[in-house]
Symmetry: C2
Subunit: 146 residues, 2 copies
């Protein structure tokens, strides 16, 4: 019974954290003149080019939805599509020079905001949350890998 209450608290906390992160992306995005979705896309691409199929999986988007999102950001000159050298059907999405700047700024601001929240925690807690969240994500991956 008390165990159940514990679990409910986790679900609630996860949902609230989600709204917090969404808000951070919205606010940082607005500061950079990006929609939340565009901000997320640019953040992902700061690690390097990603193929459309991988992107749609990472962002939980149908391929056609991603096409539109990439179109709009490409129209603004922030990303470019490059043909895959091995598979002529596939494309990689990469940041342009201007996109690098916007992406880096967005990425840094988002991380700074999220890290600032964690900074408030005792160092031991910080490690534990990170580890536990990673554990949680791994649990999900195992579930969906079925």
């Amino acid at each position: 019974m008390s165990e159940n209450a514990q679990e409910t608290r986790i679900a609630d906390a996860l949902i609230q954290v989600t709204r917090l992160v969404e808000r951070v992306f919205a606010e940082v995005g607005r500061h950079c003149e990006l929609t939340p979705q565009q901000a997320q896309l640019l953040c992902l691409l700061t690690d390097g080019p990603i193929g459309m199929t991988d992107l749609s999986r990472l962002l939980n988007l149908e391929k056609s939805s991603l096409t539109g999102l990439v179109d709009r950001v490409e129209r603004r000159g922030l990303v470019a599509r490059h043909r895959d050298t091995c598979d002529r059907r596939a494309w990689h999405v990469a940041l342009t020079e201007e996109g690098q700047r916007a992406g880096a700024e967005t990425h840094d601001l988002v991380n700074a905001r999220l890290e600032a929240l964690a900074e408030d925690l005792p160092a031991s807690d910080r490690d534990q949350v990170a580890a536990a969240l990673v554990h949680l994500l791994a649990a999900h991956r195992r579930t969906t890998a079925d």
Copy 2:
């Protein structure tokens, strides 16, 4: 340096958790024939009626955006607007009888999915994550209260 890496891991983990929760709402919503946003709204309302201003704060939405969201769900007969007895400008949004069913099902499914992830954690970790997340959220509230 290693501390910084730790913090970065938290930010990344929070972002990935966010995408996971978004996905859960999308999948559960689809199962209930609701959009992710409608599913979230109905989940919130399972605790009882909420005023428009409070809802817009809880969902991070401009008032006008919320008006549209509530309109669409009201058109489907899942919620109804009721005048505030004290303030004639204000309205409360409440689930209809049909909305109760949809909201309860959505709420239960979402919580079950999220709790299932946590179940995989050792009980001690579970408590710690919940506590730490709550701490994180409190840190944010303190920040925005300025």
